[in-house]
Symmetry: D2
Subunit: 263 residues, 4 copies
């Protein structure tokens, strides 16, 4: 049974991940890291009734020596991230990292350090299986349906537009062709055709009652083919985290992106 | 049994309407008007196998005197429209007009002329029952869901954007409130929030495989409410034409818009 | 400012309603009723940070005498419901009741008692504005689109099928006609055409990742018209509760159903 | 330029295919086969204005000797199909066959005969690229989303239910798991959960205004992932026919199914 330590256990993704691991018999949550040694009842933190004997530490080395984890899962912030990851590798752990914000040179350094230690590091900026499948399928569909548009919708508190996933999806649609008559359209209201990336028009909705959804609509002669991903809670990331845990034993070296874990 | 004359019988809406009337036992198609006296087999024009004894005339007066219609349906062009309609009223006909493009003063003149003759004139710019219901329901829903966006999609040969129906719909959403955080969004691609009318964002898709569709998405706390109208053939206008025919006996005077015929 | 008492304040709907009222400046939450006098911090119960001076009582009379509410909102269970409602009317309160399960004769008794006291009682079995609008619009659309089917989808823990809302919707589609060729279909798998109510086929989906959604699809010549309601959290009922509160002053007597509160 | 003969040129798929080939500069339509030598103007048959010098024959051998085609496309009926295909192979043609209904032993015989002649035969029961992509993607998605349901909708004249494509799709979902609580549901209307194939529930809609559409909805923790294919005209098969024509030179031997032609 794999022994897991979660760095950032008191954040929202940390709590979700702790709940998932506790309810799963193949893994054992042995420790959490937080900004200070906490005297909290983890079962309360996670909303689970099951009693748990998980200690929460402020110091990584102390946590590892006390609880002997095999794997560290990291959901924190970019600040101080790389040194902590290197320390974990020094202590013999494999890594699953959901924290985003590492710079390109930091990523290269982490990769080299992982290989040097013969460890396994999974850097996964997006744990959503639905989003990963959407991008893979969209890329393939664009070979056969060369015209496509994306509609993404989010709640009204989202800070940016369009969503990062919609841009990443448009970048995968390498075979999408531009709409040649765009210039000939007579516009009675400006801006209705949305934004453009890689020949794909992107439309962003911001409405209460939406959490996160994305549609990629492919148009062909007499038919449309649509991929839709709809997310209603943060728990949707957990199957992706579980997939990473399930695959970590069969993998080695540095792995970047959830798509590398699909068959 | 109502006797019908179609002005513009060789155009695409004229042909659809002729087919509909021929297959309907409550109405009798007695004549068509076209640019010249045609020696065509109407059953071939309409694709119907049934033999028909419908004559096609170039002259309205000749057609009326020969075939004694009760009602004239007009699907033509604005050029020369008003004089033709007044001549038909002089000849004692009631009118159902699907032709668009009359100016506001011409509409007033037609209204006065109709009332003067104690006739019935239905001026129906859009015979789509789905579009009319969508506008009525959208108007009501906006009282209870004060945030809304419209997505309209059409084939790639549509000349303008957004669609006239989407603008007309947005104009009905009198209670829709603006999205207050629009200014705070950080845009990584410009234009993704679409065009704006009456506090409603409008997004236009242009793709092969689409004919004509419109979604109005209302967002509220924890829920969305969506009206969707999807059209796949021009025959979709026929139930609206039939509704006008069914209601013309109970109505009198000048009637503007299909919504006036709904209960 | 209306003074509100919530009976059943510790249940999930009670907590949602308490949160909503606390954050709304037109209403004042003055008391809650629960099974025992609770020494809880209501701000913690509702997840709100704002401190609140709301007392929670086990006895209705004591609560009313201490806190002088104008309106009682009830989200409890059918057991003991009618006597409690009558006691509240005796104490001079108006009522908004979201609890379901009263028998027809109890409803009649409540109505008579309300009128006797010259009070206002709103009995609202479903506070979802989206569901109420869907039923009203569906009823009207069925006059013009005489063929319809319903698809409802819920999470996997829902105890029954189809949903009560889908049945109530089908019952409103008075003009829907049966599909005449149903008997002629050659079935290669049994049961795919779903269940039937009032000439409407109902299809129930049960999948993880769904909370509650319903589509009513109307089919007509060359077009479809679809109403879709999608719910992602229990907070979606709050605008309906607020509507009841906003309208209670203008209403009197016994009111049954949220649809009676729409313009 | 490949020279094409269409067997069954007067049927609806034959006409569509003729139109497509005539408008495409890489292929030359040189002959059609029909039940009798026809003296028809092919441009009228296909609705194209372009004049064409395509002869229509009743006899295959005569057609081949006169017009020297490279490839025969077959859209006919199972009756007499195998002998005609073997005759075409004898005459040195490669084959693209859209006709369905060959028995398993006939398919094996055709395969052996093709290999014996060192020819290329593509037997393609479904030319819809959208349907083929849907099945491929659905099969892959079922590995990561182990619960799925299918909703297929068709016009009211479809003879069978569910659609063949929905059954074929369900058969590809090898990893889909049954809904374990199915037995516990309390049914207030029977039959609402649809039909079942391979642990997948299938729901069939039959409504006017629909042509052919299919949704496969995958449900996972907190998210749904949906594949939707919507067809509005028979021309939607043409990109699949063109793909077969484009790939026939690079392929040899017996090829069964459009999916074998995707990269």
């Amino acid at each position: 049974m794999k022994r897991i330590l979660i760095r950032g256990i008191t954040g929202s993704m940390g709590v979700e991940t702790a709940s998932m691991i506790i309810s799963h018999s193949d893994y054992k949550l042995v420790a959490g890291l937080a900004e200070e040694n906490l005297n909290v009842d983890l079962s309360r933190l996670t909303g689970l009734s099951k009693a748990t004997d998980v200690s929460i530490f402020a110091d990584l080395k102390e946590a590892v020596l006390s609880t002997k984890p095999d794997i560290m899962i990291d959901f924190t912030v970019p600040d101080g991230l790389l040194p902590a990851l290197k320390q974990a590798l020094d202590l013999g752990l494999d890594l699953i990292i959901g924290t985003t914000g590492l710079q390109e040179d930091e990523i290269q350094e982490l990769k080299a350090y992982t290989e040097d230690k013969s460890a396994t590091t999974m850097l996964i900026p997006n744990f959503s299986l639905g989003a990963v499948l959407m991008m893979e399928f969209a890329s393939k569909a664009s070979k056969y349906f060369p015209r496509a548009e994306i509609i993404e919708g989010h709640h009204e508190n989202k800070a940016d537009a369009p969503s990062g996933t919609s841009i990443a999806t448009a970048e995968k649609l390498e075979k999408t062709e531009p709409f040649l008559k765009e210039e000939e359209i007579k516009y009675t209201i400006e801006g209705v055709r949305g934004g453009e990336k890689n020949n794909v028009r992107i439309h962003s909705l911001r409405l209460p009652g939406l959490m996160a959804r994305q549609e990629v609509i492919f148009g062909g002669q007499g038919q449309t083919f649509t991929l839709t991903h709809n997310t209603i809670s943060r728990s949707s990331y957990m199957p992706g985290v579980r997939l990473a845990l399930d695959r970590i034993e069969d993998k080695s070296g540095f792995i970047y992106g959830l798509d590398k874990l699909l068959d």
